[in-house]
Amino acid sequence: MTVDKIDKEKKIIKTIRIDVDKCNGCRACEVICSAFHAAPKYSSNNPARSRIRIIRDPLKDIYVPVYAGEYTVAECAGRDKYMIDGKEYDECAFCRASCPSRDEFKEPDSGLPLKCDMCEGEDEPLCVKWCHAEALIYEEREEEVDEAVEQEDLEIGLDSLVDKYGLEKLMDTVSRMLEKD
């Protein structure tokens, strides 16, 4: 990934505070997320397209809602185990990356990465609105950050295609498609 500029500036950071103890595992967050991001909006529903997932293992009492973050080319080397309150969590349970090691945060058809956009245009992310258990709480905070230009969906998708096929092949394919039109 290329970064266009690095600068220190103040920025409103939108986050979701996740209380794993409150999650009841219903997956309403996945439902509304996938509906909101359908095209046209709300026209279809499919949790496999959702940008939030509950990592869920009921018999071990593990319920971790995770929302999609950055796309990553390669999985990380050491995947640790965390023991919290006597429960063993895989490090991946807390990881927001769309990563080759797992199915989470990828379009089921294309395999293209998905990323949470905090439901742009809505007052708050809809997963938060639909979570009556209050496991998801929307928070804004001001922070001084290294500002990088936010990538759009399309750019993230293209990035992953470049990683997969190489830039050259991708360019060739696009030109071929243009010729056909």
Partner: protein, 665 residues
């Protein structure tokens, strides 16, 4: 494009190992909606009355509700339909959980099993790839254990598994199909699955479910969610706890069991213990539940937390919901700790939590009264708890007396004879009921107990308060925001219902006509839920529920793209409700079978009861023997049923009008 539904059923012939994806007729969806409605149609078309529960020709249908997989809150039910070994009638048990939406996302509305596999198999449905796979390594495994093993074996932690335990494998007549925190328990559906040689159905789906009018649909969903929130903050005053809040009865959350333990019967549904709930018991039971319960949990896309994960020392973790919490405890005259511990085993074995403890209590009562003897129970422990564990194992293995008890109290009593029939006293249509024994006959409940074909009172009651409120001002307050009524007249019926005095008191109020209308409304809402896949805990079971006759038609229009209004929905529900009855009538069910347990009420009113049933049959368009008439069948577009009835001599041409009217024509 098909909306809300996928438009495909998965047909699996287990004898030949043949798998087909079959397009369904959208016309059937319009007429019978989906879920129970279309299940009933398939059963009518393909399972004639000569086919028995354990015939290869019997079908086992797992039908997802029409709106399952859409964002409608709480819409997650799988309606499982087959011929029951226990009743020999059509069984339609349901389960919540996560299975139905997953099936829809895999691209199917139903899985229809026919034939029998000679070896134990499981089905793996992964979007378009469907396989019948060997399950010999899972023989005898617990239902939850099986689900865990299969998720690991297939490396699919997100797959949803519906499985049977040993009870299903050994065809116990009240074996369930278990699915995580949910189960389809009534009618021995698990036994049919076992008979077909299917240990589990595993589903994973990653496809879209579309809705017809997206913006409208999501608005309806949001309204429902908001109303749920409102109800959570505003419980209904003046009614018992389980009715004041939405959801299945919140048994996993509440500690106060005074009402159940003192009003429901213990043992073989005989003994009321009026001063049972002492402070000491309350404290002990609270500790038990608090230490066992790790989390309150939900079904798919539902904010209610009706289930719980339970971990008891030395036992594998399992999940529970609702009233199984107390059935083993009360059946064995024991405490909550015992009830939760034995329920863990029973859940893995896959047993109906209502029937199983009652069968065990029934057996022990027969022993106590000398109808069965010690010889029937070799090496049985002395204490009741120990005896329950002993019987549980005998039943699910069908060993010794367990082989007879595995057929339920009705058939066991018949086989044991010697007066044992008197001990199978708490059944409706051969199915064990909640252990509830009351004083005064209640006309609404009388009709529901008699004519319910789901064999469970909780699956027909709801909407209308169970009893009058003492003061008129309370009643006036109650009806004020009662917008769910399909007709304003129901408000008046309730307003005029007095607790005591000369006028408008039970059992002669509500009047027979009012009673018919109330019961019909209550039943209709359950049938609509069962076609759409909606949980009764957000709908038909409740007073003032989020889903009702005014928003359901809109959900169907915007969701499934079928133009719907109240009248059309009423007619559709009536159509497949009648088809359920038609299936049962064709199997011999008649008026004689439509009776509550004889000892359900102490004070009975035979004349009034007769008039109630006469009038209700007429109201429903059934003749005096409970058979839908030719005219009413015609009106519903069910002429094919009338033809079949006439061909079989169930109806004769010209003898189609209810009761007296037939002679005057």
């Amino acid at each position: 494009m098909r909306y809300a539904e996928t438009g495909f059923n998965l047909e699996i012939d287990l004898t030949r190992g043949n798998i087909e994806k079959v397009v369904t007729d959208p016309k059937d969806t319009e007429l019978y909606l989906g879920g129970l409605g279309t299940n009933a149609k398939i059963l009518w078309d393909r399972v004639p009355p000569e086919v028995e529960a354990f015939s290869p020709e019997n079908l086992l249908i797992f039908g997802a509700g029409l709106l399952c997989g859409t964002p409608a809150t709480g819409c997650n039910r799988t309606i499982v339909t087959t011929i029951s070994p226990q009743t020999k009638l059509m069984a339609f048990s349901m389960m919540g959980g996560f299975w139905a939406p997953e099936l829809k996302y895999a691209g199917y509305d139903k899985v229809i099993l026919s034939g029998k596999s000679s070896d134990l198999v499981y089905l793996w449905i992964n979007n378009d790839e469907v396989e019948i796979r060997d399950a010999s390594h899972l023989k005898g495994k617990g239902a939850l254990e099986t689900a865990e093993l299969l998720r690991k074996e297939l490396n699919e932690p997100k797959a949803q598994v519906a499985a049977i335990g040993m009870a299903g494998e050994n065809r116990v007549f009240y074996a369930s199909v278990e699915q995580g925190r949910s189960s389809a328990s009534r009618g021995g559906i698990g036994a049919v699955m076992g008979d077909k040689g299917v240990k589990a159905i595993v589903v994973r789906g990653t496809k879209d479910i579309n809705v017809a009018e997206p913006e409208k649909y999501i608005e309806l969903c949001n309204e429902v969610l908001e109303y749920i929130k409102f109800r959570e903050e505003n419980p209904i005053p003046g009614v018992m706890a389980i009715l004041s809040r939405l959801g299945s009865p919140q048994e996993m959350a509440v500690h106060d069991e005074k009402w159940h333990t003192e009003n429901f019967s213990w043992g073989n549904s005989r003994t009321r213990r009026k001063d049972f709930w002492t402070e000491e018991v309350a404290k002990e039971w609270e500790e038990t539940l608090e230490s066992a319960r790790t989390r309150l949990i939900s079904c798919y896309n539902c904010p209610m937390k009706c289930g719980a994960t339970l971990s008891l020392p030395g036992l594998p973790t399992y999940m529970m919901k609702c009233f199984t919490k107390l059935t083993y405890t009360m059946g064995a005259f024991s405490n909550l700790e015992f009830g939760l511990r034995i329920a863990q085993k029973a859940t893995e074995y896959g047993l109906d939590g209502y029937s199983a403890p009652q069968v065990m209590a029934f057996a022990l009562e027969l022993l106590e009264d000398g109808i069965l003897t010690d010889k029937d129970f070799p090496d049985m422990p002395e204490d009741t708890e120990g005896r329950f564990y002993y019987l549980l194992d005998k039943i699910v293995r069908r060993e010794g007396i367990g082989d007879i008890l595995a057929n339920g109290t009705h058939w066991a009593a018949e086989e044991i004879g010697n007066g044992a029939e008197e001990y199978a006293h708490n059944n409706i249509k051969k199915v064990e009921q909640l252990p509830l024994k009351l004083f005064m006959m209640n006309p609404i409940y009388y009709l529901m107990y008699c004519t319910g074909e789901k064999m469970n009172i909780t699956q027909i009651e709801g909407q209308f308060p169970q009893a009058p409120f003492p003061k008129r001002e309370h009643r006036e307050k109650f009806v004020k925001d009662w917008f769910q009524v399909p007709d304003e007249k129901f408000k008046q019926y309730f307003l005029d219902w007095e607790m005591r005095g000369e006028k408008n008191v039970t059992p002669f109020y509500p009047t027979i006509e009012m009673t018919c209308e109330i019961v019909d409304w209550q039943e209709k809402m359950h049938y609509i839920d069962d076609a759409l896949g909606m949980c009764a805990g957000l709908s038909s079971f409740h007073l003032k529920p989020p889903y009702h006759m005014h928003n359901f038609p809109k959900f169907i229009t915007a969701g499934a793209g079928i133009e719907m209004d109240q009248d059309k929905l009423t007619q559709a529900a009536k159509r497949y409700r009648t088809l359920v009855r038609a299936n049962n009538i064709r199997r011999g069910m008649r008026r004689k079978d439509e009776v509550p347990p004889a000892d359900h009420w102490k004070k009975r009113f035979p004349e009034l009861e007769k008039e109630l049933l006469d009038t209700y049959y007429q109201y429903k368009g059934w003749n005096n023997d409970g058979i839908p008439t030719k005219e009413s069948l015609h009106e519903l577009g069910l002429d094919y049923v009338a033809e079949d009835f006439i061909k079989r001599g169930i109806l004769t041409d010209g003898e189609n009008l209810p009761g007296e009217d037939a002679s005057s024509k």
